[in-house]
Amino acid sequence: MGDSRQLIAQRAAKEIVSGMIVNLGIGIPSLIPDYLDPSNRVFFHTENGLLGFGPTPAENPDWTLSNAAGYPVSIVEGGIYFDSTISFGMIRSGRIDLAVLGSLQVSAAGDLANWIVPGKRVPGVGGAMELAYGAKHLIALMQHCEKNGKPKIVRKCTLPLTATSCVKRVITEMGVFDIDPQHGLTLTEVMPGFMVSDLRNHTEADFILSENLNGENHD
């Protein structure tokens, strides 16, 4: 569903404020920039070696100026090129304010699985493990369920892990959850058109309701 992917990206865009250093993963996160106020000064980081990239140029794309997926981008004022060790040094040492990653499964404890489906896709891990380890704040985006309806927010990940206890927030087309060691998984927002009961029915992990949750979504 292309539409739910856009909804997730649109909601995730609200997490980004001016001044932030942000890394967006492939998949749904890459849709986020379309929903940002261009007047915000956000520094987007890409693993291949650029902090401060902007939109794909309308004309004359340059293959030597690209993002981690190999697609042409531009550079903003104050942007910098560097080699890949500096790029990941920045990630591991906590200079990325926010990483937004696509996900296959997230557990109630914040474990992330997003790099391999054994026997099917073995693309390799790329930079996901380091973003999960080092980003100050990590948000996972995913459609709430698999195509066959199986929940992706789970008690314990069944897919091989990317990293443990790293996800702080999960955004799906049905709702937004926070994860912290004290309270575990907490539903903080219900997306338009859904009720808390929908989330209960389609989420494997147990969760509590945030005090700030809008009452109208309760059943």
Binding site: T56, G70, Y71, D83, V125, G127, M129, E130
Partner: protein, 212 residues
């Protein structure tokens, strides 16, 4: 032969040197680099000829043929987290003997890696990587082999340049002594053994085929 190649998804992989590699007839090559390129881009062209026996990389997602070769047992692939892979290459290049990290602990990639305990805490040991030959791509070189790069085509090339016994740089332009600003040189010529002029990119990028 162990060959280190620069580039990230083919960006910054030296096209002319990859063709030389193919034309040379060399086989049974152990490759080390960020990824497997695309089947028609970068090191991917060589990988698809089944002349590499192994590859250390962070992903092979953009080259399904590499995935198939791995699946068929014709290419042994070792995955390393991307930044850890870069640091392993750097560790070899700067003459250190590997490092400790928490990245990857508790995951599949920790299997078979030595665990080192320091002050009661467990870390994974990551071994340095080096190679016989390194091939890199740069914008300009002077006669000493000092290199400057072009935007994101820099990526892992500076690390690759340091980690090989013999490093060959393919460059867009060879300039005179003194033509490079000593402040902006990224790789000192001390690391570069040979410089060759590039014949240019001879593949279509994925965004030229699919559109942006």
């Amino acid at each position: 032969m162990t060959l280190l190649f620069g580039g990230f998804g083919g960006v910054g992989t030296p096209p002319t040197l990859v063709d030389c590699l193919i034309e040379s007839g060399v086989k049974d090559v152990r490759l080390i680099g960020n990824d497997a390129g695309f089947p028609w881009i970068g090191i991917g062209k060589f990988v698809c000829l089944k002349r590499a026996v192994s590859l250390v990389a962070s992903h092979i997602g953009s080259n399904p043929i590499a995935g198939q070769l791995m699946h068929d047992g014709e290419l042994k692939v070792e995955f390393s987290p991307q930044g850890i892979l870069n640091e392993r290459i750097r560790s070899g290049g700067v003459g250190l003997n590997g490092f400790l990290t928490e990245i990857g602990k508790g995951t599949l990639l920790a299997e078979n890696k030595p665990i080192v305990t320091i002050d009661g805490k467990e870390y994974l040991y990551e071994a340095p990587l080096t190679g016989d030959i390194g091939i890199v791509y740069a914008k300009k070189a002077d006669p000493f082999g000092n290199l400057v790069f072009d935007k994101t085509a820099r990526n892992n090339n500076p690390l690759i340049a340091m980690a090989a016994k013999t490093t060959i740089a393919e460059v867009e332009e060879i300039v005179e002594w003194g033509a490079l600003d000593p402040e902006e040189i990224i790789v000192p010529g001390a690391y570069i053994n040979y410089v060759v002029a590039s014949r240019g990119i001879n593949w279509k990028w994925i965004w030229e085929i699919r559109g942006n």
